[in-house]
Amino acid sequence: MIGQASLSLDQAPPISVPFRFFLTAPLFIFCAGLLLLIYGQDALVSRWSPVTLALTHLITLGFLASVMCGAVMQILPVLAGSAVPASLWVSRAVHLLLTAGVILLVSAFLFSLSPWMGLAMLSLGSAFSIFVVAVAIALWRVKITNETVIGISVAIAALSITVVLGLILAGSFIWPIGYGYIHTLTDSHMGWGVLGWIGLLVMGVAYQVVPMFQMTPEYPVWMVKYLTRSLFAACLLWGLLTITHSFSLISPLWADCWLLLMALGYLSFAVMTLSVQKRRRRRLPDVTLKFWRIGMFSQIAAFVLWLWGPFWAEVIGEQARLLLLGGCLIIGFALSVINGMLYKILPFLSWFHLQHRSIALLGFGCVKIPNMKEFLPDRLAKQQYIFHLLVLTLFVMAVLLPEFFSRPLGLAVCLSSLLLEYNLIQAVVRYQKINSEISTKSNAKDEMSIAEMSRMRGMNGTSA
């Protein structure tokens, strides 16, 4: 039994590795809600406003990057048979530096504090360097390569490029560079972040997770085999075209035409996901599935806003169109999918670790382990889903009529994130309760066997 336990536990990192990231992530969304409540419409005037930049990074770094760090370190051993080295220490360091870095960065944006920006760069730069190096070592040692491993690899490469571009932009906060370059750099930073890092990560994970857990047909082979890597290569070429254009060497049309090809790739992924989900064999209602569907519809909406840009700019104004486009990708697509995934990952890991530990230490049936839905009841997840829908609706209204809807949006964001946090915390509390029950029973069992042994020894002594 002990041999078995150690072997299987070798594969999974300690539960605190992912949990620390999952538990702080919604708090950053809560902060984003607070900013909206405080600054109101100023937060949604233009993509260049410092409050909007603060909001965006609270979501992308505070929530998305956090959850990704925890989830990737957890999932690599399962999917690729290769663990992140020193996962406990890596997770502690990355979590601390990332959390501090986001707070510093957001403060630097809000209060124009150059020294804080320097510290934010140091903190975030170190957090991502440690994370990328640790994951790269794990990926290097991978025993089996599958499309999800490739998806994670290219997503991590795209993350690195995003971070480097972000650091250059943050540096320009302290050492100013020309506006033209800032514009190109910002577009590239966003492109690599949204299309490269988040887009490819979700795609890679979807190929594995959607058919497995939602019991859908498989994605078509051409998509699984070629789409992720082609899109990564396409991102690289797009980067080159953008740089060449920024030095006025070629017309911007080249980069735009290329982006259209790429956008069609992402669109085909979103449409295919909705299509396989429609044909799923497991027909039970499922909150995570609903979050995924919202995510895919948002990606399609983003495509429509981007492709018919001039039309929408005429109808709602260019600034509003750009905010909506960013919102569709970051909130509608990425936040929805990752929020939904948390409702599977966290209760499953809780169950998995406890059941494993209980069987290894005590054998069958000594402690009753709650099932996933007892850790995190559907009712709670559904309530938060409704708040998330409210957030998305109010976001669209707030972009169109910021003076009326910015603060209601802030309130909805606060409520939705608090509810998510509450849901996760109460699952973790339940986890800890059962975990200490296992420890108590296991100690009692050890004491009993020690007492038994000394009694036996005593009996042997008397008989001798």
Partner: protein
């Protein structure tokens, strides 16, 4: 090339067959169709036990004998079978009590666990076994087909 005479294809197909019955049982029980649901659950439980028995009595020992790895992947898979059997026992109890909420919570948990387990077998263990066994694959497949008949 993969064909029905290798372990990866044969055993993966058996996983899919078990999945089908799993989904059907869950659907029936969610609608409180207990008579048919209980029958489907039993069919699923039997199919899984049959699959585990084929692995534990024929496939894993053959892999271990050929590779000498007795504390490697097969031991991890055996451990996971133990975890899944604990879930089957609880599911059987909820069928007995006709507690659909309990059953759905358990089947959700099992689905997550079973799919990861299957994926590890299909992408690692079965492929390794096909390679390790070489010519004797057919013999092992025949012995597995004879299990429980």
């Amino acid at each position: 090339m993969a064909n029905m005479t290798d372990i990866t294809t044969t055993m993966s197909a058996d996983h899919r067959a078990c999945d089908e019955v799993f989904a059907r049982a869950e659907e029936l029980i969610a609608d409180n169709g207990w008579v048919e649901g209980a029958e489907k659950f039993k069919q699923f439980h039997d199919a899984m036990e049959h699959h585990f028995t084929m692995e534990e009595t024929v496939l894993f020992p053959a892999f271990e004998a050929r590779t000498g790895m007795t504390m490697g992947p097969t031991e991890v898979m055996r451990g996971e079978h133990v975890q899944m059997r604990a879930l089957f026992a609880e599911m059987a109890e909820s069928v007995e009590k006709q507690d659909s909420e309990q059953y759905i919570g358990l089947s959700e948990t099992l689905l997550m666990f079973m799919q990861q387990h299957n994926s590890k077998e299909e992408q690692m263990l079965y492929r390794m076994t096909d390679q390790a066994l070489g010519q004797s694959v057919e013999d092992v497949l025949e012995r597995m087909a004879a299990v429980g008949q």
